[in-house]
Amino acid sequence: MTHPTNERIDTLVKQNEVLLFMKGTPLFPQCGFSSRAIAILDHLGVGYETVDVLQDMEVRQGIKAYSDWPTIPQLYVKGEFVGGSDIMMEMYEAGELAQLMDNEGVTKVEG
């Protein structure tokens, strides 16, 4: 059985090498956890795209089923679910997130 929302999410996840599902936008995050996730990605200096789940109720619910993960934000790198903001912070502090981005050959942004 295929769900249109699931397919839409799957396409988004596979089309963007670093994708963050979040509440709000990078400039105006609408929740502290999303804000923290953006700060981490900015510190890493990698290019990323975001999806504002507050603008799309189907994606807001669908993303939780897609990854079997109950909360937002959710980070995907090269099509793989990495974790929420707590895991991002743990990995960032351990240097593992930078390592993952390196290993996956993620594009750096000028800065």
Partner: protein, 82 residues
């Protein structure tokens, strides 16, 4: 009604026997919690898998009643591989 730290801790230890749970009230309002869960049973599991086990222990409350639970997990020192 927000969950108390004790309720959260009890649910986690009921599902993950022997887990050491440390609760921190981040905002002092009894609603914004940080939980650190340490369990030897996490050995060899990815962070995502460890967190999922704690979320399962909380029986679907995560993201609902528990909208602001910060979670970290670890394996006791003696259990980590050299």
């Amino acid at each position: 009604m927000p969950m108390t730290g004790e309720e959260i801790e009890d649910m986690i230890t009921a599902a993950i026997p022997g887990a050491q749970v440390t609760m921190t009230d981040l905002a002092g309002d009894g609603d914004h919690w940080a939980a650190h869960v340490r369990s030897a049973s996490f050995t060899g599991e990815s962070r995502v898998a460890q967190h999922k086990r704690v979320y399962e222990a909380l029986g679907g409350r995560m993201g609902g009643v528990l909208h602001a639970l910060q979670l970290t997990t670890s394996v006791p020192e003696s259990e980590t591989l050299p």
